[in-house]
Amino acid sequence: MSAYSNLYSLQDQLGTDRTTCVEIVEYYLENIEASKHLNIYVEIFANEALERAKFLDKKLADKSTKMGPLYGLVVSIKDVLCYKDHVVTAGSKMLEGFNATYSATAIERLIAGDAIIIGRVNCDEFAMGSSNENSYYGPTINGIGDKRIPGGSSGASAVSVQMDTCMIAIGSDTGGSVRQPAGFCGVIGFKPTYGRISRYGLIAYGSSFDQIGIIGKNIRDVASTLHTISGPDQFDSTVTSMPVPDYVSDLKSERQNLRIGIFENVLNNTSVSPDIKTASKNFIKLLERRGHQVDEIPFDLLEYAVPAYYVLTTAEASSNLARYDGIRFGYKSPNAISIHDVYTHSRTEGFGEEVKRRIMLGTFVLSSGYYEAYYGKAQKVRKLLTDRINGIFEQYDLIVLPVAPSTAWEIGSKSEDPIQVYLSDIFTVIANLTGIPGISIPVGVDFEGMPIGMQVMGPKFSETLLLSTTYNLLK
């Protein structure tokens, strides 16, 4: 159990003689040290975090200054978020030693909110992966079980919270990259509506899917963080101008008698592990005991979600990653002389296998002659899925699904079969394909003691409903 269970009680203690920001940072630095074998952090900002803690303690002592809403919150950031004058590599050799020249909007808002950033954590290269095995820095290991993957791509982010090395981890979720590792690690993972948080400074994978997500141990901390980093941004025109509600105050306003749907083909699907089916059924019972109505609803488009997702995200990725050409920044092959060689050698040597696989796939689906058959068709599937999901939300308030068909697998056990890994994203990609928010919460463990997560999804901009419902469930 963490010494600092939540930000709310921590802020109560701060400013009294019970604790200081410096003590908090020292506590987390010790935990980072103790969990080094899991390969969570690729860089620890120890001195900087301590300096900042000192600064915040001083600020707190000066009663005339107002503290930011996140003062004392210790945060880890995924290695895809730009933080000015800090290295950011997207877990890739391509960006080895690359220094960010500006900060992501979300990072700026964290700092303006008086949070403390303690380090940069590992992830799948360019956030492409579901197991955190595709990193230039090697795999991150789940703190639970024996040599289990933590999930991905924000695997290390989930472990950083799981192992109590920070209170909140900021990750990114393109197809489940926050919710799935949170589920695999027994913590909370939240992906807001597409357009809720600025993507400026988030290294792009699939631009129309990417969304910054939050991993934490309690809903309240997640809500506080979300509130601070959300909202319009002059640097990202896909962010909504809708006002940001006070997610924290709204937690207590629990809505009663919700109508909740679960896809009927999940509970009788042979690829879903028996323990997860049982957990799902128990979760349904819990919801019913709370007075909500849960219906099994038909959803025959599920099998199209993963193919559409991989066609569209790889298409966008093939274009988003074209900028890594060895010219202006990043890895440039020492073996290249001609311009053609600069491109081919730098990209061949700089990118890892999974990234190259996805760039090639994405280039193929956009190429003339194949565009309609793949990209065009996948866009239609996306539209169809979106219409269908919106239709469901006309009758239902929420949809619940398991986070994944299985719990965390052993490192290396699926490396030879990327399709198998892709299919494990089946329950999470829906939210990214349709832009809706989703939260994964821990609901138990399987027969081996590996965590099981359930996912709750709502219509666009239903963050308040998702957070208050899960807050009251977990209370």
């Binding site: 978020l81 950011v88 500006y102 290294i203 990202d236 900028r323 920044f329």
Partner: protein, 480 residues
């Protein structure tokens, strides 16, 4: 012998004169030190995103309205992918699938005839940076100041039939964008660039021939040269039994020839797809109405009105129509001087050639309205010959505020206002000295009139009122 018809289509890139780049706040000032007008966004640093600059949208809509193009309420930006060192993102943001406007036309005058040139569409896009291959023997240099500059690409139908028509179209378009104030239209600096698609076909055929696209044409004159060269080249190839392959050509302005850059086989697969970082561009009817309301009267409307009101030539009216500064000076002067035709002639003979050759504005010429009118009145009164007024007095006007009359006196150009009797005496003397010529005139050599005038001018030191003298001479010769 097969006769050939020519089809020319133009793709004109117009650099908009906004303050900042199309999708970020970098300045687009021309002529700055390399790589100083840049930012993480224009360098495509990881995590950066585009955001559309509102200023360019208004300019784009203005051009669309001016050429009567149909504006789409919702249009999209696409990514056009290719690798090149001066293209930081590895793709160019452009409008491929649904440009912001389609159709439209621009009228040109070729010789005496009016031709309506059909515009296929106009779309918005961003410019690439510059690659410089000549500074270092081993390396190419990249300057990204231009990367991300807002462009409009105007595409015509292949309906132009001669190099002259293409020239007139480009010239007209350049005047128009300058008139609208959306671009400086400077081709040498690259703020207007034309790609010329040229094809030929047998006159009897309606099917377009295979086209070649000439790129990098950076002046109106070169465009005309390049097209003429290309027409000749293609005609020769076909007459010799060859075929034209779709090719991208470069124009070598020094040698005046086109040369293949790349073949159809190397045509890129640009893998266009909608840019997920930019929301659709929405141009509401209300917005378009606001832009329309704030538009100046279009030059061809002014042109027609001026021809009708002042009886000046179309060429003159056009010049005034496209140049508001010149037009307002002309109109001020018309209040002081009655003959629009004579005033317009002074503009086309002296003022406009001066502006064009010296590259100055009418303001910089430092001419007072009173001076202009005074000069014309001196001619009208027969006090100074028009040739002397143009050649000797006009240049003096620009040096100071001195009145034309003073200048004429100072330079001793005022013509003697001789009486009829004095002139008659003078001519009598000349007739006496040249009796043979008088006889020749009377037997039909009417051209000798000029000889007698010349003699009289010589005798008077050039200060005769030529009109009056000529009248008297004529009368005397006819009555001899």
């Amino acid at each position: 012998m097969t006769e050939f018809a020519v089809n020319i289509g133009l793709e004109v890139h117009i650099q908009l004169n906004s303050q900042s780049k199309a999708f970020c706040a970098d300045s687009i000032l021309f002529g700055q030190a390399p790589n100083t007008q840049i930012s993480p966004i224009s360098l495509a640093y990881p995590g950066t995103l585009p955001k559309i600059n509102e200023a360019q949208i208004k300019k784009a809509v203005q051009l669309a309205l001016a050429v009567d193009s149909e504006i789409r309420e919702v249009s999209y930006f696409d990514r056009k992918s290719y690798f090149y060192p001066d293209l930081p993102k590895g793709y160019q943001l452009t409008q491929d699938n649904a440009p912001y406007c389609k159709g439209g036309h621009l009228d040109i005058i070729v010789g005496e005839t009016l031709k309506r040139v059909a515009i296929h569409h106009i779309h918005m896009e961003e410019d690439a940076g510059k690659s410089i291959h000549t500074l270092d023997p081993k390396n190419s240099m990249i300057d990204l100041n231009r990367a991300g500059t807002p462009l409009l690409e105007l595409v015509t139908d292949p309906c132009l039939e001669t190099a002259e028509e293409a020239y007139q179209f480009l010239s007209r378009l350049r005047s128009l964008i300058r008139y609208l104030g959306i671009s400086d239209g400077n081709m040498e600096q690259g703020s207007m660039r034309a790609d010329c698609n040229v094809s030929i076909r047998p006159k009897v055929s309606t099917k377009l021939g295979e086209r070649c696209e000439v790129k990098n044409v950076n002046s109106l004159r070169f465009a005309k040269k390049a097209i003429d060269y290309e027409i000749n080249r293609q005609t020769k190839v076909i007459k010799a039994g060859g075929t034209i392959r779709q090719t991208t050509m470069d124009f070598d302005a020094d040698k005046g020839v086109t040369r293949p850059l790349r073949d159809k086989e190397d045509v890129h697969d640009y893998r266009y797809f909608p840019d997920p970082d930019l929301p659709p561009l929405v141009l509401t009817k209300k917005y378009i109405q606001e832009v329309r309301a704030a538009m100046p009267v279009l030059p061809w409307e002014i042109e027609n009105k001026m021809i009708e009101e002042h009886g000046i030539s179309q060429q003159q009216a056009q010049t005034f129509a496209y140049d508001p500064e010149l037009r307002s000076r002309f109109q001020e002067q018309l209040k002081l001087y009655p003959s629009a035709k004579k005033l317009a002639n002074l503009y086309s003979n002296k003022i406009i050639p001066y502006i064009q050759s010296e590259g100055v504005s009418i303001k910089e010429m430092n001419l007072l309205n009173d001076q202009i009118c005074g000069l014309l009145q001196l001619i009208d009164n027969g006090e100074v010959s028009s040739s002397k007024a143009y050649q000797l007095i006009f240049p003096e006007l620009m040096k100071s505020d001195e009145s034309p009359r003073n200048i004429a006196q100072r330079l001793d150009l005022i013509m003697a206002q001789s009486s009829d009797a004095e002139l008659e005496t003078l001519f009598k003397t000349i007739f006496d000295d040249n009796s043979e010529k008088v006889k020749a005139y009377q037997s039909g050599k009417k051209g000798l009139l000029g000889f007698f005038m010349g003699q009289a001018m010589k005798a008077s030191g050039g200060k005769l009122n030529p009109k009056k003298a000529k009248d008297i001479l004529q009368r005397m010769l006819d009555n001899q």
